[in-house]
C-alpha cells in the first residue's frame, strides 16, 4: 500500500513512516514488523484505538484507511505509509462537541466500558457515509465484525439507527 513505490525493507531496521492521521501529517519510525496499532498508540501516542485480540476477530482496533474500515492489528505500520488514516480521535467536530453518531451512543447507552467503542464507531461512521439509508439488518451485519462484551448490542443497534436517521434529516434540511 506504500505510496512511495516498492521499497526494500530490512527486518532489523527502523524505517520512516509518514501518513495523514485525522487530517494532519504525522511521522515516526517503525521496524517492518511493527503493527499499525502499536505505531498509532505507542509511537504517535494516539491511544484512542484499542487492541482486544491482535488476531483480527474483535474489531476493537478498527480504523479507517483511505476511508474504508480496516483492522489496525492486521496492518503493518509500514503498509500505512502515505495513506490517509482516521481514528476515533478524529470523529468529534470540536473538543467540546460530539458527532451525531457519538451523541447517539451517549443517548442510547451504546457503551458501557467503552473499550470496544472506538472500533465500532469507525465501522459505523463509514457505514453511515456509504449507506445513509441502511436499516437494522445492515447495521447488524456491519457490527458482526465487532465484539462487545458489555452491552448485548441492542443499544448499539439503536444508537446507529438513530444516528442514521438524524443524519438523513440534517441532509434534507
Amino acid at each position: 500500500m506504500s505510496r512511495h513505490g516498492p521499497a526494500v525493507l530490512d527486518a532489523g531496521q527502523r524505517h520512516p513512516v509518514r501518513f495523514t492521521l485525522n487530517g494532519r501529517t504525522v511521522s515516526g519510525e517503525a521496524e517492518p514488523r511493527m503493527l499499525l496499532h502499536d505505531f498509532l498508540r505507542h509511537v504517535l501516542g494516539a491511544t484512542g484505538t484499542h487492541v482486544g485480540c491482535e488476531h483480527g476477530i474483535c474489531g476493537a482496533c478498527t480504523v479507517q484507511i483511505d476511508g474504508a474500515p480496516a483492522r489496525a492489528c492486521l496492518t503493518l505500520a509500514v503498509q500505512a505509509d502515505g495513506a490517509e488514516i482516521r481514528t476515533v480521535e478524529g470523529l468529534a467536530p470540536a473538543a467540546d462537541r460530539l458527532s451525531v453518531l457519538q451523541e447517539a451512543f451517549r443517548t442510547h447507552h451504546g457503551l458501557q466500558c467503552g473499550f470496544c467503542t472506538p472500533g465500532i464507531l469507525m465501522t459505523l461512521d463509514a457505514l453511515l457515509r456509504e449507506r445513509p439509508d441502511c436499516g437494522e439488518a445492515e447495521v447488524r451485519e456491519a457490527l458482526s465484525g465487532h465484539l462487545c462484551r458489555c452491552t448485548g448490542y441492542a443499544p448499539i443497534v439503536k444508537a446507529a439507527l438513530a444516528a442514521a436517521e438524524a443524519l438523513r434529516e440534517t441532509d434534507h434540511a
Partner: protein, 990 residues
C-alpha cells in the same frame, strides 16, 4: 436513618431513578479514555512477555535462559527458581499441605501456565527473547474431567490433595432422610456444567515497581477487587500491606469478575520488576487471556428431589463436584459456596442435603466470573423443575407456582440460612406472563408444531444474590475449624465525600467500576442529598490503597455497587448535610430540621428569600472554621463505612446468609430448532426482574441486556474446551466463539419493584441474574422442542443434531492404519505422491545430507547431524496466527537403500509440540526419474493444536508438499516454476 433535613431539586422526585446521561461517555466516545495501556509509564519502564507451558502436565527438567539473557535489549529473565527466592506461595483456598505459585516452579499443570518471564526494552524484544528460552519437559499423563480426577489411578496433581480431592463436606438441613423416605416420587437430573469465561475486551495489564530502600512495591493494575486479595498479594510478595501500594487506572475495559484473576500476574510482574531493578509493564494478549487468565468452574452435579403428587418439592439432595482447575487459589472454592444460602432457589423447600467436593484437574485455575456459582446451581435446579413437570404430567408453570416462597413469608429464612430480603415472586411471575404475552407464545408453539416444526418453550425462576457476605467462603471449613480461624463476615462498603474551599463536592469510592457507570450514579445520589445537579459533583472511582478508605470487601463484584456503595455515599453525604444544616440554621435564624437543600441553595421553606448559597455554606469549614457552632464537627470531609448487620458468620449448623440482597428473576422464552442443522433460533425472550429500587433505568437495562448476551453465549456457543490430554482447544477468538450482533436478539425486559429493606437506597444487584436464569431457560425450551430429557450445554448444532438424527458415523478412514495419536490429541495423517527428475540413489544421498536437508525442509535454519541417521534442526513455521520456532529431531530407520526409509521425529517449541512418523518409498520410473510415495501420521498438542483442526490439516499438507517440491527442485538442480510447484502440491495432496 431519619434525615432531619430535606433535599429537593426543581423536580421533587430527585435525580435518582432517572436515566441521566453518563458522565463517563464523552471521553470514551472521543478516544480519550484512560485505560491502563493508555497511561504514561515512568521513564525506563521495561516490558514483559511470558513464556507459557504447551503441556497440560509435565515436569520441567531444565530451563536454559542464557541465550535469551544475552539478546539485545533484554534486561532479565525470571523463572520459577528466582520467583521462589523472592516471593511466597499464594494462599490456597483450603487447609492442605499444598503450594500455589503464580508461575510453575518445577512442574506445569495446565496449558498456558507461566514458565518464564522475559523483560526487555520493548514488547517485541521481550517476545523475541521467549523464543530463545529452552525448556525441556518430561510430559506426564493429564486428567481433565472432574469425575475422572477422582477415579482410581488418575494422575495426581498435588501430593497434598490425595486423589485430587481438595475438599469434601456434607451438610444436612431439616430432615431430608425422612422426606425422601416418605415422598411418593424421587426425580433427579445429572448435569455436567461446562466451563466458560466472560472475556472482557480489554485484557489484563500490570505496571509494577519495586523500591529496595523501602522494601515496597507500587503496582498499577486493572484489578477489580475484592481487596481481600490485597492481603494475599502482599503476603506472596513478603511485605506488610502498607508496603504494597495497589492502584487502579481510571477506566477498565470490562471485567465481569475476570479481572480479579489478574492478581497472580501482579505477583509475577512485581517480582520481575524487583529482579530487573526497573519498572516493568505487562499487557496480556488475547491468546494468553484465553489460555491463562481465569475461567468459571465446570461442575458435575447430581441433583435429586423428593416430590409430592402435586409437584411440591419436599427435599433436595445435591451432590456437587466442583472443578477448580490446576490450582485452588483463594478465593476459590468460593464459586461453590457463594450460593450456599440459596440452594433452594426461589422455592420454599425445608429439607436439604448437600455434598460438596472440590477437585483439581489439568486445566486453567478458576475464579470470579459473572454469575459466580449461580449458573452451576440453577441449571440443575431449573432442569429439575422441568423434569418434575414432565414426569408427573404437570405444566411446568404449575410446578413453579406450587413451590415459590409465598409473598407473606418475607423476609424469608431459607433452609440453608439465607435471609431473602423482599419480594412477591408469585405476583412478579403473573405480571411477567401477562405483560410478556405468554399466551401468544403458547399459540406460536401450537402453530409451529402443527406445521411440523420443532418449537419449545422454557421457563426459569431464580433468586439473584448480591452483596456477598465476606464470611460465606468459610462454610468450606467445619464449625470447629471456623472457631479456630476466627469469625469472618460482613461486607464493608466505603465512600468519602469532600467539600473543597470553593464549596465544590467530590466523591471518592473504592468501587473500581469496569464500565457500569458508577460515577454517574454516585453523582445522582449525592446531588439529591445536597440539592445540586449531578454535573456539579465530581466522582473519583480509581483506587489507591495508599490513600483511599477501603476494606477487604472493596471492589467491584457480587453486584454490590447499587445496594452497598451507592448507599455508603448517601450516608456520608447525609452526615455532611446535617452538619451544614446546623451551620446554616445559625446564619438563617432557623431550625436545622426545617432547612431545605435545593437548586444550589439552603433555605427554610417559610422564607425562601432568606437563603444561603450551598457553595458558600460548604466552604465554611475551610474559610471560617472558628465560626462553627461549638458541637458541630468540621464539614470538610466525611467517610462512611457501611456493613449490613444481616451478614453474620456461618453458624454451627452451617447455615449462612451468603448474600445481603436477593433479587428475583422469572424468564420464559420460545425457541425453534432447525430440524436439519440443529441450530437454535431464539424466537422471543422475556425476562422479569425484581432488583429492588432502580437507581438508573438506562443502566439497569444495560446490565440486563449485557448479562443476557453473556448467558446466550454460554447457552449456545461458548465452552472453554480441553481435549482429553489437556490440550486447549479454544485458544483464539476464532475458536472460543462469543456472540455477535447477529446472534443476540432483542430482549423483552420487565420490572417488578420491591425495595430491599436492608440497603440504604432499597436497591439490589442486577448485573448477574441473567447469567443464572438464561442458560437453563433456553435449555428447557430446547428440551421441550426436541422432547428430550437429557440436555447439556453449550447447545451446539452438532450436539442437537445428534439428538435429532443419532450420532454421526465416523468418516471412512483414508488409510488402513489408525493414526498414532493418544486419545484426544490432535491427530494428523495423510499420504501422497510426487515425481522427481532424479534417480533414486541421488535422492537417497540427499536425504542423508544435513546441508541439503536444511535447504529442503520448510523453514529450517540449522540442521545438524547428531549421529549416522539422526538429525536436529531449528524450524520456523507459521500456522494461521501462530508463528513460532521449534526444535525438531528426526531419526531415520528401517533403511532400505535406496528404496524406502522411515522418518520419525518430534518437534517442540513454545507454541506446541508434536511427534510423528512417515514412510517414504522411492521407485524408479526411468533412468533419471523417480516416483516418491509417502504416508505420515502425527499428533500435535499445545497452542498449535488449539488453533483449530482444519487449519492444521491444511497447513500440514502444504508444508509436506513444500518439502517434496523443494526436494524435487534440488534434485533436478533448479527451482521449479510456480506452475509446476502448484501441480506437485496438488498431486501431493492426501
Amino acid at each position: 436513618m431519619a434525615p432531619d433535613v430535606h433535599a429537593r431539586n426543581g423536580d421533587e422526585a430527585g435525580w435518582v431513578g432517572k436515566s441521566v446521561p453518563r458522565v463517563e461517555d464523552a471521553a470514551l466516545l472521543a478516544g480519550r479514555g484512560r485505560f491502563i495501556d493508555d497511561l504514561g509509564t515512568p521513564p525506563g519502564t521495561l516490558h514483559a512477555a511470558i513464556l507459557r507451558s504447551p503441556h497440560a502436565h509435565a515436569t520441567i527438567e531444565r530451563i536454559a535462559t542464557e541465550a535469551a539473557r544475552a539478546m539485545p535489549g533484554v534486561a532479565a529473565v525470571l523463572t520459577g527458581a528466582e520467583l521462589r527466592d523472592l516471593a511466597s506461595s499464594l494462599v490456597v483456598g483450603v487447609k492442605a499441605p499444598v503450594e500455589c505459585w503464580p508461575m510453575a516452579i518445577d512442574r506445569v499443570r495446565y496449558v498456558g501456565e507461566p514458565v518464564a518471564v522475559a523483560v526487555a526494552a520493548d514488547r517485541y524484544l521481550a517476545e523475541d527473547a521467549l523464543d530463545a528460552i529452552e525448556v525441556r519437559y518430561a510430559p506426564l499423563p493429564a486428567v481433565v474431567a472432574p469425575r475422572d480426577a477422582l477415579g482410581d489411578g488418575a494422575p495426581l496433581l498435588h501430593e497434598g490433595f490425595p486423589g485430587n480431592l481438595a475438599s469434601d463436606r456434607s451438610f444436612s438441613y431439616g430432615d431430608p432422610d425422612g422426606a425422601f423416605a416418605s415422598a411418593p416420587h424421587r426425580i433427579g437430573v445429572a448435569v455436567e456444567y461446562p466451563r466458560s469465561a466472560c472475556t472482557p475486551i480489554e485484557t489484563y495489564g500490570v505496571v509494577a515497581e519495586y523500591d529496595p530502600a523501602l522494601d515496597a512495591y507500587d503496582v498499577l493494575a486493572n484489578f477489580q477487587g475484592p481487596f481481600s486479595i490485597h492481603a494475599v498479594i502482599a503476603r506472596a510478595l513478603r511485605v506488610p500491606g502498607n508496603r504494597l501500594r495497589l492502584r487502579t487506572p481510571p477506566e477498565s475495559g470490562g471485567s465481569f469478575g475476570v479481572k480479579q484473576g489478574v492478581f497472580p500476574y501482579i505477583v509475577v510482574i512485581a517480582v520481575a520488576a524487583r529482579l530487573a531493578g526497573r519498572p516493568v509493564k505487562w499487557i496480556e494478549d488475547r491468546m494468553e487471556h484465553l489460555a491463562g487468565a481465569v475461567s468459571a468452574t465446570n461442575r458435575s452435579t447430581r441433583l435429586q428431589a423428593a416430590v409430592a403428587e402435586d409437584g411440591r418439592i419436599l427435599a433436595l439432595d445435591w451432590d456437587q463436584i466442583e472443578d477448580c482447575g490446576a490450582h485452588l487459589r483463594a478465593p476459590e472454592p468460593a464459586t461453590l459456596y457463594r450460593m450456599h444460602g440459596n440452594m433452594t432457589g426461589a422455592y420454599a423447600i425445608r429439607n436439604v442435603r448437600i455434598r460438596n467436593r472440590v477437585v483439581v484437574t489439568n486445566k486453567l485455575p478458576t475464579g470470579l466470573n459473572r454469575g459466580f456459582g449461580g449458573p452451576q446451581v440453577y441449571f440443575p435446579l431449573e432442569r429439575l423443575i422441568s423434569r418434575i413437570a414432565a414426569t408427573l404430567g404437570l405444566d411446568p408453570l404449575e410446578v413453579v407456582r406450587r413451590n415459590l416462597v409465598p409473598a407473606d413469608a418475607f423476609p424469608y429464612r431459607t433452609a440453608t440460612g439465607a435471609l431473602l430480603d423482599s419480594g412477591d415472586y408469585a405476583a412478579a411471575l403473573e405480571a411477567a406472563l401477562r405483560d410478556g404475552a405468554h399466551a401468544s407464545l403458547l399459540a406460536r408453539r401450537a402453530q409451529a408444531r402443527a406445521e411440523g416444526r420443532l418449537y419449545g418453550i422454557g421457563y426459569a425462576a431464580v433468586v439473584e444474590p448480591s452483596v456477598s457476605n465476606m464470611g460465606y467462603i468459610t462454610t468450606v471449613l467445619t464449625a470447629a475449624e471456623r472457631r479456630r480461624a476466627g469469625p469472618k463476615n460482613g461486607a464493608q462498603a466505603t465512600a468519602t465525600i469532600t467539600l473543597d474551599p470553593g464549596g465544590a463536592v467530590s466523591v471518592h469510592v473504592a468501587s473500581v467500576p469496569q464500565g457500569q457507570g458508577h460515577r454517574t450514579v454516585l453523582a445522582q445520589v449525592v446531588a439529591d442529598v445536597f440539592g445540586l445537579r449531578p454535573a456539579e459533583i465530581r466522582v473519583i472511582t480509581e483506587m489507591d490503597t495508599a490513600k483511599d478508605a477501603w476494606s477487604i470487601a472493596s471492589g467491584n463484584y457480587s453486584s454490590r455497587f447499587a445496594p452497598a456503595v451507592a448507599g455508603a455515599a448517601q450516608i456520608a453525604a447525609t452526615r455532611l448535610r446535617e452538619r451544614l444544616a446546623r451551620i446554616a440554621a445559625v446564619q438563617l435564624n432557623a431550625r436545622p430540621d426545617e432547612l431545605v437543600f435545593a437548586a444550589g441553595k439552603v433555605f427554610s421553606p417559610g422564607n425562601p428569600g432568606n437563603a444561603v448559597a450551598f457553595s458558600r455554606l460548604a466552604a465554611t469549614g475551610h474559610w471560617a472554621p472558628a465560626t462553627l457552632p461549638e458541637d458541630v464537627e468540621q464539614p470538610l470531609r466525611e467517610t462512611a463505612f457501611w456493613t449490613p448487620p444481616q451478614l453474620g458468620a456461618p453458624n454451627d449448623a452451617d447455615e449462612v446468609n451468603s448474600s445481603l440482597c436477593h433479587g428475583f428473576i422469572f424468564d420464559f422464552c420460545g425457541v425453534e430448532v432447525d430440524r436439519d442443522t440443529g441450530a437454535v433460533r431464539l424466537d422471543r425472550y422475556v425476562t422479569m426482574h425484581d432488583c429492588g429500587r432502580i437507581l438508573h433505568p438506562g443502566m439497569v437495562a444495560g446490565q440486563v441486556t449485557g448479562g443476557f448476551a453473556h448467558a446466550l453465549g454460554a447457552a449456545l456457543l461458548e465452552e472453554q474446551s480441553y481435549a482429553p490430554d489437556g490440550s486447549l482447544l479454544t485458544g483464539t477468538l476464532a475458536d472460543y466463539l462469543i456472540p455477535t450482533a447477529m446472534e443476540v436478539p432483542e430482549l423483552v425486559i420487565l420490572h417488578y419493584e420491591t425495595p430491599s429493606p436492608f440497603t440504604p437506597l432499597g436497591a439490589k444487584g442486577v448485573g448477574e441474574g441473567n447469567t443464572m436464569s438464561t442458560p437453563v431457560c433456553i435449555a428447557n425450551a430446547v428440551a421441550d422442542a426436541l422432547g428430550v430429557a437429557e440436555i447439556q450445554l453449550p447447545l451446539l448444532p452438532s450436539r442437537l443434531s445428534e439428538a435429532l438424527h443419532g450420532a454421526e458415523s465416523s468418516p471412512p478412514r483414508r488409510e488402513a492404519r489408525p493414526p498414532q495419536a493418544a486419545p484426544g490429541e490432535r491427530a494428523l495423517f495423510g499420504s501422497g505422491r510426487a515425481e522427481v527428475d532424479a534417480a533414486p540413489e541421488q535422492l537417497w544421498a540427499m536425504l542423508l545430507d544435513p546441508d541439503l536437508l536444511a535447504r529442503v525442509v520448510p523453514g529450517a535454519h540449522n540442521v545438524q547431524r547428531m549421529g549416522e541417521t539422526r538429525f536436529q534442526a531449528e524450524v520456523t513455521l507459521g500456522i494461521g496466527p501462530v508463528r513460532g520456532r521449534y526444535r525438531a529431531e528426526i531419526a531415520l530407520s528401517d533403511l532400505d537403500a535406496p528404496r524406502s526409509v522411515t522418518l520419525s521425529g518430534s518437534v517442540d517449541g513454545a507454541l506446541g509440540f508434536g511427534r510423528g512418523r512417515g514412510r517414504l518409498r522411492l521407485e524408479p520410473v526411468g533412468p533419471t526419474r523417480t516416483v516418491l510415495t509417502y504416508d505420515y501420521e502425527a499428533a500435535v498438542g499445545g497452542k498449535v493444536a488449539s488453533i483449530g483442526g482444519r487449519l492444521l490439516d491444511g497447513a500440514a499438507r502444504v508444508i509436506i508438499g513444500q518439502f517434496f517440491a523443494s526436494l524435487a527442485a534440488q534434485a533436478s538442480g533448479r527451482r521449479p516454476s510456480l506452475w509446476r510447484r502448484l501441480l506437485r502440491l496438488l498431486r501431493g495432496r492426501a
